[in-house]
């Protein structure tokens, strides 16, 4: 049994007091340390905003006017541009064009870039006189310009970096001719991407060049019978609807060719939906995970990848070289790669 002792009680109180004192002191120091630590983290977050996102201090200022939209090619193109900007010490000012058919916005950005005295412009505009005028005006102001879409390449300060659509059409036709197991000629339906608004009927569009490339092969080899060509130029009528239309109107169709990744995946989905796997095969453009899956399943025979990243990277390289007064070719072809079940991962 414990006996009460004032001395023992006093010692216990002293011990308790010292323990409390030590605990409070530790708490105080720890909380002060934590406060300093979290203050440091706040500072880090604040200072992060002043970090140079372009790596080293950039030497050039390039304006990227791009309608990336939902096209994987242009998304990859943009990534390539930004990465190349870091490599070539160029600050990339990205001006996103929200409406792919609104050329005024593209033109306005070109004007702004002109007034802002940028060192170079990378733009994927379409075909309009105001666009050409703005491009030429900027070029006259001494700004180097790289276009991502084929247009009038008649200015010494203009370069085209991208796919040679004639070659692209040839490759596509050759791939299509191998796509179907049915006897030649295979019945082909083509779904082309939207056409940019143009008021100049003399201009030759990328789709025209592509189709002429395909036509050359079709004529020489006679293995393909083009039964229809459709343009996906409306957001309301997507590739899925167009595929359904083709399947409904042309039941003898063997191959459907699409010119971008989104349309390719959409066409494949409809074939699966209509239970036409093995009957109709898709030849597409662009390589995404979904498309890889369809290639493995045999729904998509193969695709042509236009190498958007390389095109974007090369665009900056050309601009940087051009600003540095080194000679740059006015036409730089980025060849498309072919992927089938044989060479995908």
């Amino acid at each position: 049994m414990d006996r009460y002792s004032p001395v023992l009680e006093g010692n216990r109180m002293k011990w308790l007091y010292k323990t409390l004192l030590a605990l409070l002191f530790i708490t105080m120091v720890t909380s002060a340390g934590l406060a300093a630590y979290y203050f440091g983290l706040v500072n880090q977050v604040y200072d992060k905003s002043t970090h140079n996102i372009f790596g080293e201090q950039p030497k050039y200022h390039f304006s990227l006017v791009l309608n990336a939209g939902d096209d994987d090619y242009w998304q990859s193109f943009k990534e390539g541009v930004i990465e190349a900007g870091k490599v070539y010490h160029a600050a990339i000012e990205y001006n996103s064009v929200t409406d792919p058919l609104d050329m005024d916005q593209v033109v306005e950005y070109i004007h702004i870039a002109n007034k802002s005295r940028v060192d170079g412009i990378i733009v994927n505009g379409g075909y309009s006189s105001s666009y050409s005028e703005a491009i030429n005006k900027a070029a006259e102001s001494g700004i180097h310009i790289v276009v991502g879409m084929v247009g009038s390449v008649d200015n010494q300060r203009l370069s085209y970096v991208g796919t040679n659509f004639y070659d692209f059409g040839v490759k596509a036709a050759k791939l299509i001719s191998q796509a179907s197991s049915k006897a030649s000629p295979v019945n082909l339906a083509v779904i082309l991407s939207h056409e940019s608004a143009t008021d100049d009927k003399t201009m030759v569009s990328q789709n025209d060049i592509l189709m002429s490339g395909m036509a050359s092969v079709m004529e020489s080899e006679k293995k393909i019978n083009l039964i229809t060509t459709l343009y996906r130029n409306s957001h309301l009528l997507g590739a899925e609807d167009l595929t359904r239309c083709i399947l409904a109107e042309y039941p003898n169709v063997d191959v459907i060719f699409c010119t971008n990744a989104k349309d390719t995946a959409a066409a494949a989905r409809v074939i699966v939906e209509r239970n036409l796997v093995g009957e109709v095969v898709v030849v597409g453009t662009g390589l995404t995970d979904e498309i890889k899956h369809y290639i493995k399943k045999g729904i998509v025979f193969g695709v042509l990848d236009r190498n958007g990243y390389n095109a974007g990277f090369k665009s900056v390289e050309v601009l940087a070289g051009s600003v540095a007064d080194s000679f740059q070719s006015s036409y730089i072809n980025i060849p498309a790669d072919i992927y089938t079940a044989i060479n995908i991962e």
Binding site: L20, Y38, S49
Partner: protein, 523 residues
Amino acid sequence: MRKFWGKMFNSIKTRVIAVFVLTMVLAGSTSIFILGLSSNIIEKMDDMFADNVELKRFLNDLNQVSTNLTNYLVTADSESLLNYYRHKDLFQDRAQSMFHAMGGIYSQNDLIYKDIAYMVEAFLQETEEAVRAKRMDNADEYMARYAEANRISKYIRTYADRLNLNILNSNTTQYLDMSEHLNKLRTANFVLIISVILLNVLVLAYLTYNMTKPIIALANSAAEMSRGNFDAEDVEVISQDELSIMANAFNEMKHSIKNYIRELHNKADTESKLLEQQIENLRMQSLLADAEMKALQMQINPHFLFNTLNAGLQLAMMEGAEKTSAFLDNMSKIFRYNVKSLDRKVMLRDELDTLKAYEALFSVRFGDIIQFSYNIDPSLLELEVPPLIIQPLVENATIHGLGNLERGGNIAISLYKEGNMARISVKDNGVGMNEETKKRILEGLCTENEMAGHMTGIGLHNVVQRLKLFFCHEDVIEVYSEPGRGTEIVLKIPCPVPALVSIDSKTQTPMTGGDPYVQSVSL
């Protein structure tokens, strides 16, 4: 080190100041720490929105320039022109201060700043050209310049809005990133404040406790003292400060008072004992005086009585009256023994010898009506006792026990040892006594007259009191008696008998000065 701190803080004032400074420093430094953090964060927050504020002012200035330019071009009013110039200068200054402050290109926003700066330059160039053309009345020129200026102004607004939105988005993201850390920072600060408060409270409580504990102990001790308790524990103060000095002084004062009171008590005890001793002496004196008074009453002209008795003795011898001669001889012995001073000591043998003489006289007077028997332990005959202790008992037995009986009786005198006590028993087979009488005898309530004997005139009470005083022992008598069955009175004497306490030295009674009876007996 400990000594150093001990010396440093050996005063209450120093300790109070030190603790006060410590708590103030703790609270103050915590406040400064938290204030510093808060100020820095507020500064950052201000800085985050400073660009938005500046952009708003910038756009206002742009509007002013555009408006005044339009006014001038429409009205050609010099006031408008002045306003245009004034606002143009302000706008230019603001644009320069905004865009020249940039240290380099670090983000998309910096690029937009740079774009705006160049567009401002182009805008102002166009406005200047428009004004110049207006002054030259070149309508086509100024209209074209005005249109271009408006277009650039629109671009500037577009980019400024974009910049505003970017900054706002960036600030929102930044704020969201920071807010988590800020919440934790706030919690840490809260814990810090609470812990500092508790720490201060604990330190102050300890100081207060340490300071008040000795004071409370002193107060309690003082309260105990005021109630007359000087045996409370000393107040202990471990520190070396004024409280320790006060406690030590208090303890010393308490001890001094305690000692003083103890001395007073001792003195009072001594005086009390002395007084009791004096009272005892007075009682002794009273008893002696009483006994001697009795003796004196019987010592009427003892010289004459002894001479007469001796003359009678010689006459009886000459006449050949041997019995008369023996009678007178015994009588002479008894008188001689009885008149001796009562403060002397005698041996039991003397007591018994006198008793023999008394018996002889008694038998001459009353014949063999009363028989005496003796049972004596000879080893006890040398015991020293006060004189005249047995004879009064025998006289009581003859007078009160057997005196009224026609048949006579027996008186048995015994002397024996029991334990370490010598017992003198005088037992008769007379009338006995009831409990009340026995009680009165034992409690000493019987008058001397009631118990007095013929020869000695000394009562039982006197005998008992003298024995008590002589042996310093209270239990000296036992009485066994029943009505009709006789009485036995036993005197108990400690054995061996302790040395007689000198009454002279203790009481300083006048007896030490010599007794005239003794002188007379010696004659």
